[in-house]
Amino acid sequence: MNKATNVLTVEEAATRASYPLFVPFIMAGDPDEEATISIALSLQEAGAHILELGIPYSDPLADGPLLQRSAQRALKGGMSLKGALRLIRTMREHGLTIPVVVFSYVNPVLRMGEETFVKEAASAGANGVLIPDLPMEESSLISTFAKEKGLSVISLVAPTSAHRIEKIASQARGFLYCVSSLGVTGTRDAFPDEAYAFIRKVKETSTVPVAVGFGISNRRQVELLDGVSDGIVVGSAIMKIVEEQQEALTSSNKADRNQALNEIKTFVSTLISS
C-alpha cells in the first residue's frame, strides 16, 4: 500500500531512539501542501524519529497564538482532515519513512466518524493518533478501532493529572506525551522547577518512552531534560520558523525554498545534536 517500506511502529521508533527521542510537530497545509511535504522530509533528514502532523482546526483550545495562526493559514488554504490524510499518502510516496502521528482535535474526527477516521488514517500510512481534547474517559471507542488497525493512540499527562497519572500511564501506547507545564502550546524560555519532579514521576510510572512537550524551544531545556525524560516534542518553535519563512517556503525559486528548509534543519540540529 505504501511505497515507503519498513515504517516502524510509533513504539518501535520511540523505544529505539537514543536521547533525545525527537518528535517534531508541523501543521498540515501551512504554508501549503507542497511545503508541508518538504518540511516533513527535512525534519526526517535532520533526525526526527516520529512526525506529529497537525490537522488545522477552527477552535484549537489547547493552542497558543502561534499555532492558532498556523491553523488559520492552513484552513484558508483549504486543508482539512481528509486533505491531511491524503497528504500523508503523498509524503510516503516521497520517501517519508518515520512513523506519523495524526494530531487532531476531536470534532473533525467525530465529523468523519471515529471508525472511518481510523481506517482512512491507517490506509494513508499513519501510525498513531493524538487527540488533545479526548481524555481517557472519552477515548475507549477510538482506542478499540485503533487497536484493530495497529495505530497507537498517544495519551497526554499533565502537571495537574495528580492521581490520574498511573491510570493514564498504564493505558499509554507508543510514547507518553508529558505536558511540561500548565497552559497552552507555545515557547517558554524555561520550565518551573517543579516540572522536573513531575516528569520524573511520570517516567517512573510509564512503561513506554516519555516525551516532554509544550514550550520546548532551546538547547538548554533539552540538556536539562536529559536523564529525566526520553525525548521531546517540539511544535511552536518549528512553526515559528515556518511562519517567518512562509514566503520563501512557497517561493517558485528552489534556492529560496532550500534556504528556508535549511533554517529549520539548522534549528533542529542546534536543538538535538550532541
Binding site: 489547547a62 482539512s80 470534532n107 465529523r111 481534547d133 495537574t160
Partner: protein
C-alpha cells in the same frame, strides 16, 4: 419515571461528557466534588437563598399580561420576570451560585467569558460584592458593539480582556477563557455563563437556574391553582430555558424553545443550532453545533448577541432528540415585532433574546383556548438593546 440526567459520565442521553485537555480533567473532578458537597449541604442553600432574596431581589414576579392576552385572543399569557432581577437578567442566579462555590473551594480569582456582556456584568457584580479578582474575556467585536457593558464591568472593578481570535465574538471569548483557565487552573475558578462546557458545568448551571422554574410552578399554583399548559423560553446556550423547563420535565406541560433564526434558517445567517446543526463537540461537550462538512465550526449570526452561539447546552440536544421540548427558529424581524408588541401593550421592554421566546409564545397562544395558560420566561430587560433597536428601526425606515 424519567431517568436522572446527567449520568455518572456527565451525559444527557448521548450528549455532554468531558472533551477537554488533560490539564483540566482534575480541576473538573474537584469542581464536581465541591459542587455535590455544596448542593447536599443545607448551609450552602441557606446562604444562596439569602443572597438571592436580599441582594438579587428574588422571588421575581409572575405577571399576567392582560392587554396582550386580550389583543392576541388566545391563551392567557404570563411572564416570569427575570428582567426584574438585579443587573437585569437571569444570569445573576448562576453567577451568585458559582461564586459561592468558588469561595468554598478557596479560589479567589474568577475568569469568565461574555458575549453581549450580561454574564460578564453579572459576574463582575458578584465579584465586587465578595471582593474577588475578576477577569472577563469578551470578543473584540462584541466589545465595540457593547461598549457600555465593557464600561459597566470596569466600573465594577473587573478587567475586560479582548478575545481577538476567530470572529472575535462569544465563541472566541469562551476559547480564550478556557485557555486562560488551562494556564491558571490552580488558583482560578472558571465561571461559565450558560449550560454549556464540559461536565459538570451544564449540571451546575442548570441547578443554579432551576429556581426560575421552581418559583414559576409555585406562583402558578398560587394564582391559578394549576400548572401552565405551555412554557416558552429562548435558547442560546440555553440556561434560562433549562432553568425554566427543568422542574416541569415530568409534568404534562408543553415546552417550547425559541432559537435564533437570524435572517432565516434558509440563509447562512442564523444561530439555529437544533434546527440546522449537526452532532459534534464544542467547548468540551458533545452536542449539536453549526459546523461544515470537515468539522470546522461556523460562526453563527443573530441580532441578539446573547443567542449568537454556534452550540447549545447538551441537555437541550437530548431534550430535542427525545422530543420532550420543541425547538423552533425565530428570526431577527419576528423577535423585534414581538418586542415592540409587548412594549406597547404591557409597558415592558424585553431583551431581544427574550423577544424570540415572546414571538414563539404569541404564535402558540393564538392557537390555544382562552382558558389555557402559557408562561414565557422573560429572561432579561431590553435597556441594553435600545441602541440596537433604534439603529435597526432607523435603518429600516431609511431603506424604505
Amino acid at each position: 419515571m424519567q431517568q436522572i440526567y446527567p449520568d455518572e459520565r456527565g451525559r444527557y442521553g448521548d450528549y455532554g461528557g468531558k472533551y477537554v485537555p488533560e490539564t483540566l480533567m482534575y480541576a473538573l473532578e474537584e469542581l464536581e466534588e465541591a459542587f455535590n458537597a455544596a448542593w447536599g449541604d443545607a448551609s450552602f442553600h441557606e446562604e444562596y437563598q439569602d443572597i438571592l432574596r436580599e441582594y438579587a431581589g428574588r422571588e421575581t414576579p409572575l405577571t399576567f399580561a392582560g392587554h396582550l392576552t386580550e389583543h392576541l385572543g388566545g391563551a392567557q399569557i404570563y411572564l416570569k420576570r427575570e428582567d426584574l432581577l438585579h443587573t437585569g437578567a437571569h444570569k445573576l442566579n448562576n453567577a451568585i451560585g458559582q461564586v459561592l462555590l468558588a469561595r468554598r473551594m478557596g479560589k479567589s480569582k474568577i475568569v469568565a467569558e461574555t458575549g453581549a456582556g450580561q454574564h460578564g456584568v453579572a459576574t463582575a457584580t458578584v465579584c465586587a460584592k465578595f471582593g474577588l479578582e475578576c477577569k472577563v474575556f469578551m470578543g473584540e467585536e462584541d466589545m465595540e458593539r457593547q461598549a457600555l457593558n465593557v464600561f459597566r464591568m470596569e466600573l465594577l472593578g473587573a478587567e475586560v480582556l479582548p478575545a481577538s481570535s476567530g470572529n472575535k465574538t462569544l465563541k472566541d471569548a469562551t476559547n480564550e477563557a478556557i485557555r486562560y483557565w488551562v494556564t491558571n487552573v490552580e488558583d482560578t475558578f472558571y465561571l461559565i455563563g450558560s449550560v454549556v462546557g464540559p461536565h459538570p458545568y451544564p449540571m451546575i448551571v442548570r441547578n443554579y437556574q432551576r429556581i426560575i422554574g421552581d418559583e414559576t410552578k409555585q406562583q402558578m399554583q398560587t394564582c391559578c391553582g394549576a400548572l401552565p399548559d405551555a412554557i416558552a423560553a429562548c435558547v442560546g446556550g440555553g440556561s434560562n430555558a433549562i432553568g425554566m423547563f427543568y422542574p416541569f420535565l415530568e409534568d404534562n406541560v408543553k415546552l417550547y424553545g425559541a432559537e435564533a433564526a437570524g435572517m432565516g434558517v434558509h440563509t447562512a445567517q442564523h444561530a439555529a443550532t437544533i434546527s440546522k446543526g449537526t452532532r459534534g463537540v464544542i467547548h468540551g461537550s458533545l452536542t449539536y453545533l453549526i459546523q461544515d462538512e470537515n468539522g470546522q465550526i461556523i460562526e453563527p449570526y443573530s441580532i441578539s448577541a446573547g443567542l449568537d452561539y454556534p452550540g447549545i447546552g447538551p441537555e437541550h440536544a437530548h431534550l430535542a432528540e427525545s422530543g420532550r421540548v420543541e425547538y423552533t427558529g425565530v428570526t431577527d424581524e419576528e423577535s423585534l415585532e414581538a418586542l415592540s408588541l409587548l412594549t406597547k401593550k404591557e409597558g415592558i421592554l424585553p431583551a431581544i433574546e427574550s423577544s424570540h421566546a415572546l414571538y414563539l409564545a404569541f404564535e402558540k397562544a393564538k392557537q390555544m383556548d382562552r382558558n389555557e395558560r402559557i408562561v414565557i420566561c422573560l429572561s432579561g430587560r431590553g435597556d441594553k438593546d435600545v441602541e440596537t433597536i433604534r439603529r435597526r428601526m432607523e435603518g429600516e425606515s431609511s431603506d424604505e
